[in-house]
């Protein structure tokens, strides 16, 4: 993808970029600090005593309940808990999970890989599909392709993820009538996962349905943004010029219109990358995908304060970082932002 831009004057622009990036980074740090403070109080305000919740339905003596409170640091006054939380977090220590009794950072580390694999692949597929369809649809708005693809994407966009996921599971994992149940019903791999290339195939087979669900429900946004920016570009003079040069229609679209129309989509993609880390709680729950979304879901069910805090922090911080990055990248890509 080459982006045609006017060549900027070298030195002042770079200087400006650094200053711009520094300002954005400062803003991001401020946001992160606020998120840390808010996280602490947000999760303290949630109803319910975590120790009582942990003890639900099991035999615990009053002494043991008090012991648990001490273990979780809940017997200390709130200000003390807060100072402890902040100093700990600044050292990248997210505390120990109440339920799993292990460092939250380890729990996250064990699961972040599978989440990135699933949501990352889905993002790439959704973006590619959305951009491709959007560009074609916008090129000839009102065409049959446009109507068809836009309608389908919008229908999928409005379908509840849980419903679509379960439906795909019922049809393609269980098999209905002539449709065979080829895909596994759960997880990231078989218990007896083979080694080497067969193992990669095994994971791919497990990933197909969750990935399809994720792509289906989100690609519409890329399609629509891409479509509308292509529609904008079509009316520009340079397209007419390109036509006048006798270029093939496909080439004009691919080499002239699409690169210019990509800008808004790029911003959108970067903003979504931030959410990749958060995973897809629903999809992970349907397909028992061992990722962060599932961990977060478990944390809420317990409720496991430190685990919720940790995953929540990770998700918000990655969204903030990616938004900042999006701002900077946009600055590089689009000269108009620089003067603004």
């Amino acid at each position: 993808m080459t982006v045609t831009l006017e060549a900027p004057e070298e030195t002042p622009a770079r200087h400006g970029l650094l200053r711009y990036a520094a300002a954005k980074a400062g803003g991001a740090l401020l946001s992160i600090a606020m998120v840390i403070v808010a996280t602490f109080f947000l999760f303290r305000m949630l109803p319910g005593d975590p120790v009582r919740a942990l003890a639900q339905g099991r035999n615990m003596t009053p002494e043991q309940l008090d012991l648990e409170r001490a273990r979780l640091g809940l017997d200390k006054p709130i200000p003390e808990q807060f100072v402890h939380f902040v100093t700990q977090t600044l050292r990248f220590d997210l505390g120990d999970s109440y339920e799993y009794k292990r460092p939250v950072i380890d729990l996250i580390g064990e699961r972040i890989g599978s989440t990135l694999l699933l949501t990352g692949t889905a993002l790439v597929m959704a973006v590619s599909l959305g951009i491709w369809q959007g560009a074609r649809a916008g090129w000839k708005p009102g065409s049959r392709f446009d109507k068809f693809s836009t309608a389908i994407s919008l229908v999928l966009w409005s379908v509840p993820t849980f419903w679509l996921g379960l439906l795909l599971l019922m049809v393609f994992a269980a098999g209905v009538g002539p449709i065979p149940g080829v895909f596994p019903t759960r997880g990231i791999s078989s218990v007896d996962k083979p080694d080497g290339f067969a193992g990669v195939l095994d994971v791919a087979q497990h990933m197909a349905l969750p990935c399809l669900t994720l792509v289906a429900v989100v690609y519409a946004q890329y399609l629509l943004v891409m479509r509308s920016s292509v529609i904008d570009e079509v009316e520009h003079d340079y397209i007419t010029t390109a036509r006048a040069k006798g270029l093939r229609d496909d080439d004009i679209r691919r080499k002239h219109a699409v690169p210019n129309a990509l800008l808004p989509t790029v911003t959108l993609v970067f903003m979504r990358i931030g959410f990749v880390v958060g995973g897809a709680v629903t999809v992970e729950a349907i397909f028992s995908w061992p990722g962060l979304g599932q961990l977060f879901y478990e944390a809420i069910r317990v409720p496991d304060f430190t685990l919720m805090q940790g995953t929540f922090l990770l998700i918000t911080v990655s969204v903030i970082l990616m938004n900042t990055l999006a701002d900077v990248v946009y600055h590089v890509l689009d000269p108009r932002v620089r003067s603004a």
Partner: protein, 597 residues
């Protein structure tokens, strides 16, 4: 872009092809158990979840294990035991057997396990209460001596797995140890060989198990985050057995010839918890319960206004037993008590109305009763969970019946942590739904209605299921603790159940059935616990999964057919993807050609 798309399409195609693993089916006999709870910790000192407890039972030996027929405590690692006349000193003879790494099992292992829990607060998270009454534990050769602070009849239902000292004493901080070392060193019928977090645990048969090697080679405990997916998994054959089903999921298994629907009595009782004047552990009133509920006549009238059979039929789809007893379900027939004769409360709205009339709760012009002094209407809140449709249905029926006796019931839906707080600590409720899964020794569930389990005013301590504090009940509890003769102890426990039934701090509604499903083309036989109409998964001990037998390769014609049809299906499913992939590759080539033009 198209390159990318083509690559992705190719990936999809690969994904559609069935894994080569399915083709090379090993000759091992493997049974796959589906569970809807993930393993919290493989360190038994820390783990609390049911699934983890079930796995511990397969990996480690315990002092005793419930007998597979009678559920009475029977020898496990302890082959025999004696008690001193005062009931305070117990001596267990530990079996001559070997850990799975070949080391001998001695009483020292057991003593180390208990002492660790008694001296290290970090080791109490899993089973702390089990050693709370221990004064000292010592070992000499194969003899283990436990001295108690007070007599405890439930001694033989000790839930602590005995750990190999030579492996675990090396761990410095047990409170942060994850126990993820494989193969585990244990003394049970299976050895854990692999654990993938939130995915599965793989257990292999222990060839040197003292009772003999299990009949299958491998057990896989496979986690589903979503019960609906686990049902699909069972029907498809991704798992062979799943327990703890709810009625709708259980019913959806009907009509599948390969699946056995397991429907027996369960270990749980569902009851209403009535705020009969909640107090803290220092006897100060707490919460905002309706004053009318302090009157046992009002509570009894409510009891008469509940049609338990109707609830079973409509709320539990018939898959439960109406409760004419209290908190111990009929599965435990030694301890189960059931009301008979005049004492038995049956659905009788006229009688309920009469009780309230006689007690002076007069109906107002709107048909709603008021307190005898006219101060307050009989309007109660019914606290239920937000995410359980079954409880909503229950609330509808109760509201209808209570209206007939001049009592207004409004439903209050709470998320689970708020629910636990309001019904267990702050007592901000009138009537709440509750339930308890009972162990073979019922001491634990009986203990949840003791005075000492009420929380302090600041919410410390706790563990009560009812805020109950009744001298008669307390007295009986102490008596049963001292009574080591099982039939005599059962009589005392039955009196406690009777007290709960007639005083009605809790009203038992029904005992939900144990609902499970397994594939008969994979599992040739499996023995429940107890053997007569018992549980497969989630029962006590290792019995079902020690006795489980797999269908041997020769008999499983259907299975092979299934996998080859899977291959055909895979190819059939792959064709369209292949076509799309091919199309995209072609397009890409054409595009490249265009560029060259």
């Amino acid at each position: 872009m198209k390159k990318l798309l083509a690559a992705l399409a190719a990936m999809c195609l690969l994904a559609v092809l069935p894994g080569t693993a399915a083709a090379a089916e090993p000759a091992k006999k493997v049974i796959k158990i589906g569970v809807t709870q993930s393993v919290d910790s493989m360190n038994p000192f820390l783990a609390v979840r049911l699934v983890t407890g079930s796995i511990q039972r397969m990996i480690y030996g315990f002092l005793t294990v419930p007998d597979s027929k009678t559920l009475k405590p029977s020898p496990d690692l302890a082959e025999s035991w004696t008690t001193s006349p005062d009931g305070l000193t117990w001596t267990f003879k530990i079996r001559q057997a070997k850990w799975s790494d070949g080391q001998p099992i001695t009483a020292d292992d057991a003593a180390w396990t208990f002492n660790k829990m008694m001296t290290d607060d970090g080791a109490k998270a899993g089973n702390g209460p089990a050693v709370a009454n221990f004064a000292s534990v010592t070992a000499s050769g194969q003899d283990l001596t436990i001295k108690l602070k007070a007599s405890q009849a439930s001694m033989l239902d000790n839930p602590v797995p005995i750990m190999p000292k030579h492996v675990w004493e090396k761990i410095k901080d047990i409170s942060r140890y994850d126990g993820e070392v494989y193969p585990t060193v244990g003394s049970g019928p299976y050895i854990a060989v692999e654990h993938k977090k939130d995915q599965f645990v793989r257990l292999e048969a222990n060839p040197d198990y003292w009772q003999g090697r299990p009949k299958v080679d491998e057990l896989q405990v496979i986690f589903y985050d979503n019960p609906a997916a686990s049902i699909v998994g069972l029907k498809k054959g991704d798992i062979d057995l799943i327990g703890r089903l709810n009625p709708p999921d259980f019913e959806s298994l009907t009509g599948d010839d390969n699946i056995v629907q397991w429907n027996t009595q369960g270990r749980r009782s569902s009851y209403l918890q009535i705020n009969h004047g909640a107090t803290t552990s220092d006897n100060k009133p707490i919460g905002d319960g309706h004053p009318a509920l302090k009157d046992v006549r009002v509570r009894t009238a409510l009891h008469y206004a509940i049609d338990k059979q109707k609830l079973v039929d409509e709320v539990q789809n018939g898959l439960a037993k109406p409760a004419d007893g209290s908190i111990i379900p009929p599965l435990y027939k030694d301890f189960f008590w059931e009301a008979t004769g005049d004492e038995k409360v049956t659905f009788d709205l006229a009688k309920a109305n009469k009780i309230l009339d006689d007690a002076g709760y007069k109906k107002g012009p709107d048909g709603v009763r008021t307190m005898p002094d006219g101060s307050r209407k009989l309007q109660f809140r019914f606290s239920i969970h937000t995410d359980t449709p079954i409880e909503d249905k229950l609330a509808e029926y109760l509201t209808g019946w209570f209206k007939e006796i001049g009592i207004t019931l409004t439903t209050k839906r709470l998320d689970s942590s708020k629910f636990t707080e309001e019904t267990g600590t702050t007592a901000l409720f009138d009537i709440a739904i509750s339930g308890w899964s009972v162990n073979p020794d019922p001491e634990e569930v009986l203990g949840t209605h003791l005075c000492s389990r009420r929380p302090t005013a600041s919410g410390q301590g706790g563990g009560t299921e009812s805020f109950y504090c009744d001298p008669q009940y307390e007295d009986l509890y102490l008596q049963q603790q001292k009574e080591l003769d099982r039939p005599k102890r059962a009589e005392i426990i039955k009196k406690m159940e009777e007290r709960l039934y007639t005083d009605a701090p809790v009203i038992a509604l029904y005992y939900p059935n144990d609902l499970e499903g397994y594939r008969k083309d994979r599992i040739a036989s499996i023995t429940p616990i107890p053997e007569d109409k018992g549980l497969l998964y989630g029962g006590s001990g290792y019995w079902p999964f020690y006795t489980v037998q797999a269908v041997t390769a020769g008999e499983s014609g259907g299975k092979d057919g299934g996998s080859s049809s899977g291959v055909i299906a895979g190819i059939a499913g792959g064709v369209p993807v292949l076509a799309i992939g091919g199309f995209l590759v072609m397009r890409r080539r054409q595009g490249a050609a265009d560029e060259r033009e």
